[in-house]
Symmetry: C2
Subunit: 217 residues, 2 copies
Amino acid sequence: MTDDLLTENTRERLLDAAEILFANKGYRAVSIREIIRAAHCNLAAVNYHFGQKRNLYLEVFRSRWIPRARRVQDAFRKSLENNPPHSLDDIVRALTDAFIQGPLSEDERQRHHQLMAREQARPSEALELIVNEVMRPFFVEVAGLLHPFMPDDMGDDALYLYLLSMFSQILYFSFARAAVTIMTGGDYNTSSFKAHISDHIVTFCLHGFGAVVEVSK
Amino acid sequence: MTDDLLTENTRERLLDAAEILFANKGYRAVSIREIIRAAHCNLAAVNYHFGQKRNLYLEVFRSRWIPRARRVQDAFRKSLENNPPHSLDDIVRALTDAFIQGPLSEDERQRHHQLMAREQARPSEALELIVNEVMRPFFVEVAGLLHPFMPDDMGDDALYLYLLSMFSQILYFSFARAAVTIMTGGDYNTSSFKAHISDHIVTFCLHGFGAVVEVSK
DNA sequence: GTCTATAGCAGGATAGAC
DNA sequence: GTCTATCCTGCTATAGAC
């Protein structure tokens, strides 16, 4: 919860602390005072470095959220490079693994997807950023990879619905950890449960995609 | 956005206005003053009827959210009564239709699922209420319906994961309307797009469930 | 670049008239 | 049950010392 890294400079500590708090509570529910307490600095620091609270929020997306999203995408691409896909299975598996078991820690992923879920529930300028810089380009890229395995008459619009279904699950199993834990009894802090969730999503989506194309079993 | 029903008494108007605002913005982002403006009543009314802001929030779940969830569940049950399920397909279809094309209006559904998503992202006493009164009993019921169609060795824990995958999509396509609209170009206000989304979720989940049992095509 | 001090306002909650 | 008036806390933002 608290961010005790004292090594970085004030600006970076503010961004780290702000991201955690904004993800957990939402923009309005977090006060500047709360952030500067977690970042171990002074009240005026926010206004000095970011002008106003709102810009701190947007800078969290620019300098933290987007680069992290790119890291996940890179993990996906690298995985396909090392293991060129011969079937739909390979792509879906690489995709799910990158997002669920990829380069992010459990906490990092929850934070990342909580911020995204909040923006999607109540869009602001940050959603525009997310969609234009991250979501849309990635969807286009993945759609291109999937095309060879899809029926010829399938358009991108239809394909995007399948991708949204897939990401809705990745998002949900990340941001709704409490509900998932209560309903399944599983514990996200054990790596076996995490792998279990990951396998489940792969299987479900693989067959979900199988709705349009036969899945090799 | 505004709630202009002046027929009901103050208490009911407050609950109606509060639910809309809490769903759209979250608990902390909504001020009592904003609520009473929408409900066309006085500042002191909240404290008179609910003691404090927090209790108004919880009462929204008790007297609005839970009964609405029950309406959706009843629509599902009635649909199965009228059309006894002979396969997994029938149940999945009835389930999805009840939630996506059931008794709720587009706005009502978005609000309903926005509130739920917020509680799952940051649990409070209201999530306990939701899980104990609505989610868990319904999951138990649906698991019982699905059991005959599932492999003998499949436990409820595994089945719940499939249900969570299904509901994550229902939730997402409701609360993330903006992102879905941007990515697909569809318009939720047309009934054809709504039906399209519904069909998509049915198909995807049917095949997702098909991961554990053969789906009749 | 970081601090203290403070302006100025919005928030939740209450007292007491009607 | 509904209103006005008010208390007081906590908020964002800024000024100005160091």
